[in-house]
Homo-oligomer: 344 residues x 4
Amino acid sequence: MNTIRTVQVGIIGASGYSGEELVRLLLNHPHAQLAAITSRQYAGQTLGQIFPKFANHPRAKDLRFTRPESELLARQVQVVFLALPHGVAAEFARPLLELGCQVIDLSADFRLKSAEVYKEFYTHDHPAQELLAKSVYGLPEANRGAIKDATLIASPGLLRAGLIKPSGIIADSLSGVSGAGRKAELDYLFVECNESVRPYGVPKHRHLAETEQELSLAAKSPVVLQFTPHLIPINRGILTTLYLAPATHFTNAAELFALTGKVTACYEAAYGNEPFVRLLEGKAFPDTKNVAGTNVVEIAWRLDGRTGRLIVMSALDNLVKGASGQAVQSMNILRGFPETAGLV
Amino acid sequence: MNTIRTVQVGIIGASGYSGEELVRLLLNHPHAQLAAITSRQYAGQTLGQIFPKFANHPRAKDLRFTRPESELLARQVQVVFLALPHGVAAEFARPLLELGCQVIDLSADFRLKSAEVYKEFYTHDHPAQELLAKSVYGLPEANRGAIKDATLIASPGLLRAGLIKPSGIIADSLSGVSGAGRKAELDYLFVECNESVRPYGVPKHRHLAETEQELSLAAKSPVVLQFTPHLIPINRGILTTLYLAPATHFTNAAELFALTGKVTACYEAAYGNEPFVRLLEGKAFPDTKNVAGTNVVEIAWRLDGRTGRLIVMSALDNLVKGASGQAVQSMNILRGFPETAGLV
Amino acid sequence: MNTIRTVQVGIIGASGYSGEELVRLLLNHPHAQLAAITSRQYAGQTLGQIFPKFANHPRAKDLRFTRPESELLARQVQVVFLALPHGVAAEFARPLLELGCQVIDLSADFRLKSAEVYKEFYTHDHPAQELLAKSVYGLPEANRGAIKDATLIASPGLLRAGLIKPSGIIADSLSGVSGAGRKAELDYLFVECNESVRPYGVPKHRHLAETEQELSLAAKSPVVLQFTPHLIPINRGILTTLYLAPATHFTNAAELFALTGKVTACYEAAYGNEPFVRLLEGKAFPDTKNVAGTNVVEIAWRLDGRTGRLIVMSALDNLVKGASGQAVQSMNILRGFPETAGLV
Amino acid sequence: MNTIRTVQVGIIGASGYSGEELVRLLLNHPHAQLAAITSRQYAGQTLGQIFPKFANHPRAKDLRFTRPESELLARQVQVVFLALPHGVAAEFARPLLELGCQVIDLSADFRLKSAEVYKEFYTHDHPAQELLAKSVYGLPEANRGAIKDATLIASPGLLRAGLIKPSGIIADSLSGVSGAGRKAELDYLFVECNESVRPYGVPKHRHLAETEQELSLAAKSPVVLQFTPHLIPINRGILTTLYLAPATHFTNAAELFALTGKVTACYEAAYGNEPFVRLLEGKAFPDTKNVAGTNVVEIAWRLDGRTGRLIVMSALDNLVKGASGQAVQSMNILRGFPETAGLV
């Protein structure tokens, strides 16, 4: 019987919402030992002082935030998670990679393959262009943002199978406030978000670029996506509604029934055995409360006989499946652990 | 100088959320005297016992819920508001009309002109078909439901002006929980709605029929609408995102700029002087918290240079602009009062 | 018939939550004209740009935030409201008073009569000690903070009537997040407040000093108050539970009944005719949703036959009755307007 | 090395909020196999149909709700959890006990030792009086309700140590809406609870009787408790503030400091090694968000030099520590499992 060797892991930027969630997952991971957490703001304080909910955890007793220093980290851990804002992550990745660490980035910094596209969407040069080309982590499921996730999980299979047209895809997303990060801004105060719902970043949101890149690969032709995010008053969760055009028209109930069967078969082939995808049957619709705190994405679909459109709806927890859970899943694959370790 | 004569009004079904809001508006209306409120459930109790917030109101002192009896009502009031669930309203309308009352219906019962379409969407015969044909109230702004409002306020002008194509319109809506009514169902418990967001009624929601009817009139050709409602954890408000296809393509920034100008001009012509429409300029987006408790609808629009689509976003309070406020506005027009009386 | 002359009013600090609420009330006040609003942060921008909900208001068209300059203000208005953080208000009051303005302060700066007590609770010298002694505004209902309100409205009458003991009073308060002000701090982010409830400022909260000062006056002996505030996830509202010891013991149901009658009579004598106090009868309890957006305070009371204690419960809107509404009520009295003008 | 034998367990009433939480804990318990779940309402449906979040769980695949039949259950399981409303639980306990099952009751039905006290508080005869006397389960930590928990965890040690007076104890509680159960009632609709806070059951709440019983045992003299619950808009959590009178007066800072040390020592002696009690040090206050989803209770205390009172504040998750987690902890002790099994 093979025994699994525990890996030492660290988190840079452990005091944000994704970092906090990553701490939770890694403290309970059967094959990982959380050995280092960094935070410029809280350096010197214990984990329990900043997040009391971890204060009693048997594996959190001696954890204390430190300043992020690559050499120190490289001596302590083999895997480093970057839970940092966009643009900052890239700076940390290079020295850690050079020192031999494996790096798993939760930000968007390494999701794009083209430095030109990066500059178009982020309005500044990519800080580590040579790493982009290396396709650093090479994990199919890794490094996806929450919004991208919902769309990418729900549609590439349909594109590849030729069931939907690559043009005219619309993704309408409803995001919880933790997606904005743990930063003190007026817009995210309780009073500003409670009893409020509003669109933002319309029409050109930054995550579009990476999503279009992946969808285009699946479709083998350029895909331009319409994406409209909205901020809603929940802590966690993203619900996405996709509006898709079936590649073949249906003109009566029998054809609609047949096409529904093909879509269902496509989803079952793609995800029927995936531990973290729940395909909803019958009359059920996705609901963020059913996936909160888990690495699961719920998906449901309906063909509309009146408009001819395929509506795909999905729900996931932006902090888990959309960030930390996804990152842990990547580590599991990277290190040869069971893919679900620490995630169920 | 003409003096305005106060009208005596009554509400059938005054104990639901729309009824409660209608009570609030009518108690403060300068030209209406709320003389009768009915509720089978609370008959015999005072208004203040059921809604303590009205207990001190100087004009609410003697108001007591009664059973809904047409003859009694017709002796007391000239205008009756029906704040009842769908299917029930029609039964009450006929006797009241015969007794000479003016009836303003907040439900969907009289919104459709065709009894066949009614049966298709509601799965039972219309209870007062002969009144459908009479086009009873004849007020252009009257009797619109909240969801329909958002769509109808935002797009018919564009259709009439030929700025957008009549096909392929998508309306994606986010609704507060009061839209489900004041009824004891598990789905609408606090615990089920808080930290939850979910679609419902996809793909064929009942309000579609009436909305398509009105849009088709504006477009002078049949319009089939894609409509996806979602339930979000706010008390009041509906935020709708419309995805529209401009009638003319634009291929460069100059054409996009020109088309944006036409859309803006179209909205300003239609609503620039409307007291209850706020056209958002600059970078602002609609937000339900900016319209809660008011009869105002906020509208913003963006042309997307990447996809070629026109995105229109709107926010309104489903209980006011989407129900009670709209009804009071109708009464104001019907009785010759200033259109904004009791609404600002 | 006397006609009421409209007064020109200004607000210093109009961009906070109390300021925003004051704008709402004054824009709709029948005898006040809002002529000036100041905000260092937003100087130069229109009211509608910062608060879109006022953009269409017929009386808000030309309002633009300016820097707070006393001389300019004194030329424009006769009454100035200070909606500023504690410690800042005092600096503005002196020059405005010297220039002949009437000043109504929503902060705590002038609530204490003793500069020593101010220093004990605020840990710095009072910035305008000579104004403390002048008892500047002299209005019994003016300048009370929200928390103080609930306690002061509910208990001085009982103290004066000798119905309760002055010792051992406990006030346990539950406050909405707007009470923390419109400032960007991590503690008040949506994610930190939603699904959270926590005490704060225990055991020595700043508002204690002023409340004890007023209670001691009523009791004619020093009152020391136990006060425990809690932050709960609502926008508006404070619910306070007071634990009081009746001055006379009751040992049977008849005595309990008699004492209940006395308490009720005391409340009815004190508030039976007050337009903004709702004494709850029967089984009703106060609820913040019944007072939100209004200047009303709800009060209920129960004698506990088992413990011998009198429990008094009250609810009010911290932004209205606890701040802006109270301030407008003060202005009404100060200027000889009907006390309820602009508040119902 | 001793191996632990897995126990087969069942839940009667698995479709309420406590039942749902118990399902979650038992599906992940290392030594328990959830073999039966009952629900009259959902009999015949799978667990995943009613609670989609469990649909993918590897140990939930074949779970289907059945009607609660004692003989069938007794053949399937050794331990039965009763997650039923008060008054109903007792009927199920007797036959199951006679059939040899171990029964763990989450309701209040067996918490009282006196049938007379039961009748006084519940207004009907106890349905299984002979079981009351048997002190059926005999587990010190078992069968405590959420509110009782907070008070009982926080104060008996102080009473036993003679640090506080047994008279005059006040418990002021803030409860999340899940405490009201998963039942369709107007009072618990989202719209009625959101933006609302209200007291309820004042002054004589049912849980008082059992709490007083246990406190009296600790104090060795009758304790009469003042208890004021409030409903606040969160899903999970109870925050309780206790007002206590120290047995010895302190008259200066040194005595206050000394007494604080004794209270701290008392808490550390009682709970320093408890896995589910977090004693907060420094400036921290309990917060329900820090215990949500866990079996932990947070406790903080402050002596007030001004009033002489000891303020104890605690937070727990009513569905876990206050119900299901507590019940699992009881099972762990009853079956000789590690006390924390399935709970961390």
